[in-house]
């Protein structure tokens, strides 16, 4: 199969809205192409790797240099298009004079395993020349895919779930099995594709891979009609959801994003190998305050995630803990289909003995999740309201009789999140969006009052409907009082309700505060700017919480 066929697939998937049709298109595609290219297609479509070979900026500069194009003109075009790879693709149209397109039949495998990786081996001059050469010998229809892969921005509206369904239909095997096979590192090769479509299920091969995660749904009112005793209650921690696996003596840490992160947390891998049993645990990784037994802020965990082989001092500075929620497999036995309450008994049976031991103590890195026991639903609400005090986001409610299904299965687990904090703020700046929102003003900054001045306190991008975005975009264009590059300064007139999860002191911001996950929850057309909140209100909010 050629890159051409993949470009067609991309354009088909991009223009089909129905899930069933997408599955059909994928199925047809897998049937008619070589295993190695199918493997690459899956690799790209599931976003298993978005390795960036060159930056969007580099791509734009290179184009400007080769074709003597003013940089400002490319930047103006970018504002309309919102994606560097696409801008260059559009600008490249009709540029090439080479009649013979040598690369018109290049295979996906050749491009991804040779042509593109080889670019990294060249010096800058050679690299630029090679990219120019590819541009000029590749058919125009394939430029977009090439530029997107080059800049690591290849994304299309296809989820792993959709790939799973297509493969599952293709070979008539349960989605769970396919989903399992697709978990973790997927290296594009003939073998990995053959393994994926293998009709014989071989458990041995699945050894180091995690189970599909079970996810919680947002709380539904109907749950309150049930007896409180039917449910297990846990705190909802704000860390990295993870499966901790030990099979045949080897420990592996898998995030929900299907990344193997052993290298970032070597101390956990080491300590867990003390345990004699083999197991699969579902839990959460956090940076932990051991003295007060409380989770520390997610921002501290971020300092650990992207750092491989952390030094001893980093490990001490940001001490981690794995909080085990659930036991999914024990000594080779998959127990996901026994009831949660019984799995909990197993979890305690196998793991409490490893805590507080004198030798090989793991309590400085491992903990079984504490349960909460509300008397009734109003009491559960009280717990939920208290969750900010211990740095959690609310409660997780699990049906005691539930099995460990996969995905966001309904009617099993619920998240009962603490209500967000809110302030009414005034819109003062807007910036053009990118991607789908290119050409529209969709990045907003909001301000609060300090005496008679409006001070910026948060930026938010999400929360408005498409209709509201268009309406606001029109208003922004008419009410601009100043332009600074891509940013427009606006007449203070519009008030919005901004919701956020956390508020803390920050020296980096002029307002002196920083908020986490700010988003627009309401366009307060009923309010005048003098009804908006002040910075004092924000400080007051902060005082109430801490």
């Amino acid at each position: 199969m050629s890159l051409k066929r993949f470009s067609e697939l991309f354009s088909d998937l991009d223009s089909i809205n129905s899930t069933n049709n997408k599955i059909e298109v994928l199925k047809r595609y897998f049937l008619s192409n070589e295993p190695i290219d199918n493997s690459w297609a899956i690799y790209l479509l599931t976003g298993k790797s978005n390795k960036r070979f060159i930056s969007g900026r580099y791509l734009k500069n290179l184009f400007s240099q080769i074709y003597e194009y003013p940089q400002w003109l490319i930047d103006t075009c970018y504002l309309k298009v919102g994606d560097s790879a696409e801008v260059i693709t559009l600008l490249l149209k009709k540029k090439s004079t080479t009649r013979k397109k040598k690369l018109s039949n290049i295979s996906l495998n050749e491009l991804l395993s040779k042509t593109i990786p080889n670019l990294s081996k060249l010096n800058e001059e050679e690299k630029n020349l090679q990219i120019k050469n590819i541009w000029e010998t590749l058919p125009e229809d394939n430029h977009l895919i090439f530029n997107k892969i080059l800049t690591g921005t290849f994304r299309v509206g296809v989820s792993i779930g959709l790939i799973t369904k297509s493969i599952s239909k293709l070979i008539n095997i349960d989605e769970e099995i396919i989903s399992h096979r697709l978990m973790g590192n997927f290296e594009p090769s003939i073998d990995s594709y053959e393994f994926l479509i293998n009709k014989n299920i071989n458990l041995q091969e699945l050894n180091s891979k995690p189970f599909p995660f079970l996810l919680a749904n947002t709380i539904e009112d109907k749950i309150f009609k049930n007896s409180i005793n039917d449910f297990q209650f846990e705190w909802k921690y704000d860390g990295i959801r993870m499966q901790l696996i030990k099979r045949s003596g080897n420990v592996s840490l898998w995030t929900r994003g299907q990344e193997l992160v052993n290298e970032s947390f070597p101390e956990l891998v080491e300590k867990m190998s003390y345990i004699k049993d083999d197991f699969v645990l579902d839990g959460e990784l956090l940076v932990w305050n051991f003295k007060e037994q409380i989770a520390l802020d997610f921002s501290l965990l971020q300092k650990r995630i992207n750092r491989k082989s952390p030094t001893r001092s980093i490990q001490i500075k940001y001490p981690i803990i794995f909080i085990a929620y659930d036991l999914l497999e024990i000594n080779g036995k998959d127990i996901r289909d026994i009831k949660l309450e019984n799995r909990r008994i197993e979890l305690e049976k196998y793991f409490s003995k490893w805590q507080n031991k004198t030798e090989n103590n793991i309590s400085d890195i491992f903990k079984i999740c504490d349960l909460i026991y509300p008397k009734d639903w109003p009491d559960a609400l009280t717990y939920k309201e208290k969750s900010r005090e211990n740095n959690t986001e609310g409660l997780i409610i699990k049906k005691k009789t539930s099995i460990y299904a996969s995905g966001r299965k309904k009617g099993i687990w619920w998240k009962y999140k603490v209500d967000p904090m809110q302030l009414d703020a005034v819109l003062i700046y807007a910036k053009g969006g990118s991607g789908k929102r290119a050409g529209l003003y969709t990045d907003y900054s909001f301000a609060l009052w300090k005496d008679k001045e409006l001070i910026k306190f948060a930026s938010a991008y999400s929360g408005l409907t498409n209709i509201e975005i268009k309406e606001l975009d029109k208003w922004i264009r008419k009410n601009t009082i100043g332009k600074y590059g891509p940013v427009r300064s606006l007449k203070p007139e519009m008030v919005f309700e901004i919701s956020f999860e956390k508020i803390q002191i920050s020296k980096r911001h002029k307002s002196g505060i920083a908020v986490r996950f700010p988003r627009i929850t309401k366009w307060r057309k009923d309010k005048k700017i003098y009804d908006a909140d002040s910075l004092d209100n924000a400080y007051e909010l902060m005082r109430k919480i801490s």
Partner: protein, 328 residues
């Protein structure tokens, strides 16, 4: 340099106006004398005392406004005088009857491009290069990201899009005057051999075109209560105004597409809400605008209809062309 008031043609109340002839070009409000470049709704208004235009535009205009209007028509290239100013219409290649308008006064030539395209279109006369001193040009697609593909390539893409889903009814949204007829003409040359239906507003325009001797494929006028099975695998042309709202409930198992130059940008395609976008336009692309500016040999250029900032800067910097601004 002259002040704005001294230009032969200038902006007045948001419209192009020639004071010496007391005549307006494509006015958006009722005036005494209106020169009309073409019959799209944003280029004329009801209630002018007299319209002056081409013979083809007259037929289309009357279909849209009614027969009770006063219209004077001229052939392409035919010169007429108002207050000593020589005026003539020249083909602009946008839609049937569309024109550029040239003014000559005291040896000074002015050219209003009207909406134009350079691409071949079998349903109207090809754009004619007209030399001028002053050029007032549209620049709807005045960025280099806009470069049109050959029309037959787009027509083949449309045909493939329909043929690939024989179980579906394909709804193609397009402007009812010009774009629809151009598409019909092109699609009839492709591999798509199924039935084509058109909405009343498009059907009417097809008839006008036929009346004026243009070869347009016969279509079936779409009725509200068509059998769903009958529509399967066929193509229906609809005006974009019907894409939102309850009209689509008349159909089952549909796929939708929009034919417009804006569809060359993925973000706009995604946001438009159509399943698919075909980038085909009756306006000039970037290269087209540059070609017209150069070939017209204009020393001074004005732009209107569109975002002209980048285009102006480019012409000034790269081509050393004097771009002027009207101010509104």
């Amino acid at each position: 340099m002259r002040t704005k008031q001294e230009y032969l043609i200038r902006y007045k109340d948001g419209n192009l106006y020639c004071e010496l002839a007391d005549i307006w070009i494509d006015p958006s409000k009722p005036v005494k004398n209106a020169l009309i470049t073409h019959a799209h709704f944003d280029h004329f208004t009801f209630g002018c005392e007299e319209y002056i235009t081409t013979r083809e535009t007259e037929i289309l205009l009357k279909e849209r406004i009614g027969d009770n209007i006063k219209i004077k028509t001229f052939e392409y290239g035919e010169e007429f005088k108002i207050n000593g100013i020589k005026i003539s219409f020249h083909p602009s290649g946008h839609i049937l009857g569309s024109s550029q308008i040239r003014f000559i006064f005291a040896e000074e030539k002015w050219l209003i491009s009207g909406d134009f395209k350079l691409q071949k279109d079998k349903t109207c006369k090809q754009y004619e290069i007209v030399k001028t001193d002053y050029l007032i040009s549209e620049c709807t697609f005045g960025l280099p990201i806009f470069k049109w593909d050959e029309t037959n390539k787009i027509a083949n893409d449309i045909s493939k899009w329909i043929n690939n889903s024989p179980e579906k009814t394909s709804l193609l949204f397009c402007y009812s005057l010009g774009k629809a007829q151009r598409l019909l003409n092109e699609i009839s040359q492709t591999n798509f051999k199924g039935k084509i239906y058109s909405h009343g507003s498009i059907y009417k325009m097809n008839n006008c075109y036929k009346e004026l001797g243009i070869n347009i494929k016969d279509t079936i006028k779409i009725e509200n209560k068509k059998m769903i099975d009958e529509l399967r695998g066929s193509l229906i042309l609809l005006p974009p105004s019907l894409s939102k709202g309850s009209y689509l409930k008349n159909f089952k198992n549909i796929q939708t597409a929009f034919a417009s130059g804006w569809m060359s940008i993925r973000a706009l395609r995604k946001r438009s809400g159509y399943d698919k976008g075909f980038a085909i336009s009756d306006h000039a692309d970037w290269d087209g605008i540059l070609e017209v500016v150069k070939k017209s040999e204009a020393k001074n250029v004005f732009f209107h209809h569109g975002d002209s900032e980048a285009l102006s800067k480019y012409l000034i910097e790269k081509e050393s062309i004097n771009v002027l601004f009207f101010g509104k």
